[in-house]
């Protein structure tokens, strides 16, 4: 069992309560089983052979959105999300994945995206074919959430790339990174998808691989090397890092924008995992007219919308909705009129829990407006 590699975490968490107040899933549900302690108790029983995975225990293991706040808060060396991921892989190996999880796997494998939408529709609003090149200095990996749910973010990033006169290409056969499969416990299938995508990326011989999707960024930065898929000579950047660099170089210059007060939501992959905290703030700070007001919980302690679970919202839409509502409440307390994320999936979640007087935008859209839009009225 893979969970045996996480025995220290499981044996520590089973009787520890110290992070329950930050656990996104448990704070939303109020259920003890959703806390890292609850999952520690369950996994301890499984680990010792005192219990087997049944439908209810399995359900609990998929109720975690993997936000990593437990990990961040912990002062011992415990990593509950890793234990949960190992457990999912174990129960998948035992053929005990829930039907809903199997359906998502099938959709990703068949269509290349978790929504089950046709591959040819990936580029519908982005104009993909005109952007395909055999080789380029920059490969822009768009990602499923961006392509299918937030194509305007992709369009905005393409505008930025154009404004910077970047030598770039999209991937003709772009599909999921495979990360949603890995998060659901399908490690072999995830690796197979990753290997195909990595080969396509390498074929373009880019110097930079950039993505607007934090989940994909984490896949390229962490998951792929862990699978033995190295991008030698290719620098992996999130769009915020790339834009920050373009601004630093003067390749794009934001123009005065109508006055707006913004608050920025850090995320699990970009923030807690890879500590990309300063780049988004530097970017917003360079846009004349924008003022940034921080939420109480920012950076590594920022609230989660559950986007870190990849397809969490497909399995638990109500919980996902409540997580987003909590973030919106926090954002509203700042008095900001725009909540900015750097994650297309998060934006979709937040828009689903819409609030009057609080627009939700991706940072890439904001930058595109400032770089390519018309000047603000005098």
């Amino acid at each position: 069992m893979l969970i045996s590699e996480h025995a220290t975490t499981i044996e520590s968490c089973r009787f520890c309560f110290m992070c329950r107040h930050v656990c996104t899933a448990a704070v939303i549900s109020g259920r003890e089983s959703d806390t890292p302690r609850g999952k520690g108790l369950i996994l301890f029983k499984v680990l010792k052979g005192h219990a087997e995975y049944n439908a209810e225990l399995v359900d609990t293991l998929y109720r975690c959105c993997l936000c990593g706040l437990c990990d961040t808060w912990c002062k011992a060396d415990c990593h509950p999300p890793d234990a949960v991921l190992a457990a999912r892989a174990d129960l998948v190996a035992q053929g005990k994945a829930p039907f809903a999880v199997q359906q998502i796997r099938d959709r990703v494998l068949q269509t290349g995206n978790p929504f089950g939408l046709p591959g040819e529709k990936r580029w519908g609003a982005v104009g993909g074919p005109s952007r395909f090149r055999e080789r380029a200095e920059v490969v822009y990996y768009v990602g499923c959430d961006t392509a299918y749910r937030q194509p305007q973010i992709a369009a905005a990033f393409l505008n930025i790339l154009d404004a910077a006169h970047a030598d770039f290409t999209l991937l003709r056969n772009e599909r999921s990174t495979g990360k949603p499969l890995a998060l659901l416990g399908y490690r072999d299938e995830a690796r197979a998808m990753a290997a195909r995508l990595a080969a396509d990326i390498q074929a373009a011989r880019p110097k930079i691989l950039v993505t607007t999707c934090p989940s994909a960024f984490d896949a390229f930065q962490s998951d792929y090397p862990a699978m033995g898929l190295e991008f030698r000579g290719i620098e992996v950047l999130h769009a915020t890092q790339y834009i920050d660099r373009l601004m630093e170089q003067g390749a794009i210059v934001p123009r005065e924008q109508p006055a707006a007060v913004a608050t920025f939501l850090d995320g699990t992959y970009l923030g807690r995992t890879h500590a990309v905290y300063d780049e988004p703030r530097r970017i917003l700070g360079r846009i004349p007219g924008w003022t940034l007001r921080e939420m109480i919980w920012t950076r590594e302690l920022a609230y989660s919308c559950g986007e870190s679970g990849g397809v969490f919202h497909l399995l638990h839409p109500e919980s996902s909705h409540n997580m987003a509502a909590r973030v919106l409440d926090e954002a509203a307390k700042t008095g900001a009129n725009v909540l900015i994320t750097a994650c297309p999936a998060t934006k979709t979640r937040l828009q689903a829990s819409d609030r009057p007087n609080l627009a939700v935008r991706d940072i890439v859209e904001v930058v595109a407006d400032a770089v390519t839009g018309s000047d603000a009225p005098a």
Partner: protein, 481 residues
């Protein structure tokens, strides 16, 4: 009789509960049965560790309003089913364990802050709110309850009220019973009552105090009004090492006798100084480590601090300065993370007690003697962490590094240590407990503690909960039948 999970009567109970709170707020999941079968008490942890099943509820309900709590109580009463209130489940006494099955009423969806009154400096909140969430929300308004226990992240307001909890700033700001002004309580028959809006009245006995520490056996507390305080301008700490515990106790006593108002006094015995203070704070000293702190306006703090320093410096001491006191504050919760906390296979218990200054050292020594003479396999350590004008609290611990593998043998040994130590404490003027409560763990000793006065508590329980459905079998009250 308690319900049997495989009984079709369960289906009727489920239907009625779901009708009240919605099916998404009633759980019969195996996951929840495991998670609610274990709190922070060592015996259920042992049970889990040894592969045994803990005391599982038949159903867990998550009410969202006092009306829902009232209806749930009526359903439990009608069916004659035990109803155990669960807040954070982080109690160390087994108080929230559903030892007779039935319904666990999880209060965590009663988490609203209803009013922050900045004129009177009070806050009214539902009792299922996790204390840290309340404190964070108050801090945004520049105020706080100043209830800062190590369990702040995991326990609910109701949990503290139910067990007369305390925090590290209690020496100035009091225990939870000093902070609370008024309560809303749902009784076993579903009646919702409110205690008087403020204490310090002469309109009969204080009903608020009656429910504090009742551990869910008298009703379900659903709402509380607490005092709040402006966040202090400064909070300053200072640490000393005294050559022995006796000198440290004398320093603490003099600080209190002088009627200074430290927010913290924390004195560790020689064993804890050598073990925990060294390991967590990296302070490598022999003797008894004492840290104290003052908070408030800068000039008031400076004045009180100078008087406190003079008291400590008049005794044999080593002055560790302010930084090694601040370190303790900065790391005050680290002690409870798994890398620093005692854990299985060790057996351990916190023998917290309280006594007057005249008795507290004798209580400490009496329990220490019991452990050393009767239980040579155990170690004894302690610190003194909540101080009053008349005495202080002793947070003593016993630790058995290698308890019996057999769960029954281990539990029996564990209970013998508890009985022997607490009887020694009571003989020397100590009580059964100071701020963790009684629960399942210590109920058998309640009659010895109270003597004939325990009958008064029994009569109140019988009157207020004639069907004995509210958390039966705790606090020494009868088991469910």
């Amino acid at each position: 009789m308690p319900l049997r999970t495989d009984s079709y009567l369960n289906e009727f109970l489920y239907t009625e509960l779901a009708d009240v709170v919605g099916s998404e707020n009633v759980s019969t999941s195996a996951s929840d049965k495991i998670a609610y079968s274990c709190d922070y008490y060592w015996i259920p942890e042992l049970w889990i560790d040894r592969g045994r099943r803990g005391p599982e509820p038949d159903m867990v309900v998550h009410p969202r309003s006092v009306e829902e709590v009232s209806r749930i109580c009526r359903i439990a009463g009608k069916h004659g089913i035990p109803l155990t209130t669960w807040g954070g489940g982080s109690g160390s006494q087994g108080g929230a364990l559903p030892i007779h099955g039935g319904i666990v009423l999880d209060t965590k969806k009663l988490h609203r802050i209803l009013e922050i009154d900045k004129t009177s400096l009070t806050v009214t909140a539902e009792t299922g709110i996790i204390m840290q969430h309340l404190e964070w929300a108050l801090a945004q308004e520049g105020v706080g309850t100043m209830h800062e226990p190590a369990s702040i992240s995991c326990a609910t307001l109701g949990g503290f009220l139910g067990h007369r909890g305390t925090g590290v700033l209690s020496t100035k700001y009091g225990k939870i019973e000093d902070m609370v002004l008024a309560l809303e309580v749902v009784l076993a028959d579903g009646t919702v009552i409110n205690t008087l809006p403020v204490p310090r009245h002469a309109s009969g006995p204080d009903l608020t105090q009656l429910f504090l520490g009742s551990e869910g056996t008298f009703g379900v507390m659903t709402k509380a009004t607490l005092k709040i305080h402006p966040l202090p301008e400064v909070r300053r700490f200072h640490a000393f090492v005294f050559p022995d515990l006796h000198t440290g106790l004398e320093a603490g006593r003099q600080l209190m006798a002088r009627r200074l108002r430290p927010c913290v006094i924390r004195l560790y015995d020689e064993a804890e100084t050598r073990r925990l203070i060294r390991r967590v704070l990296g302070i490598d000293k022999d003797g008894a480590y004492l840290v104290f702190g003052f908070d408030g306006d800068r000039d008031s703090v400076a004045l009180e601090l100078s008087k406190a320093l003079a008291i400590c410096r008049a005794l044999p001491h080593e002055d560790l300065g302010p930084n090694l006191g601040q370190d303790w504050w900065d790391h005050r919760y680290d002690f409870f993370f798994p890398n620093h906390m005692f854990h299985l296979p060790q057996a351990f218990g916190t023998l917290d007690t309280v006594a007057t200054f005249a008795n507290i050292e004798n209580v400490y020594c009496a329990m220490k003697r019991v452990v050393e003479e009767q239980f040579p396999m155990a170690r004894y350590i302690g610190h003194f962490s909540h101080w009053y004008e008349w005495g202080c609290m002793l947070y003593a611990r016993f630790i058995i590094d290698d308890p019996p593998e057999d769960a029954h043998e281990a539990a029996q040994l564990y209970n013998r240590v508890w009985d022997a130590c607490l009887r020694a404490a009571m003989q020397h003027g100590g009580l059964l407990n100071e701020h963790h409560g009684i629960g399942l763990k210590l109920g058998r000793l309640m009659r010895e503690l109270y003597g004939p006065a325990y009958g008064v508590l029994e009569n109140i329980k019988q009157t207020i909960d004639p069907g004995n459905i509210m958390n039966p079998g705790k606090m020494g009250f009868p088991a469910f039948r």
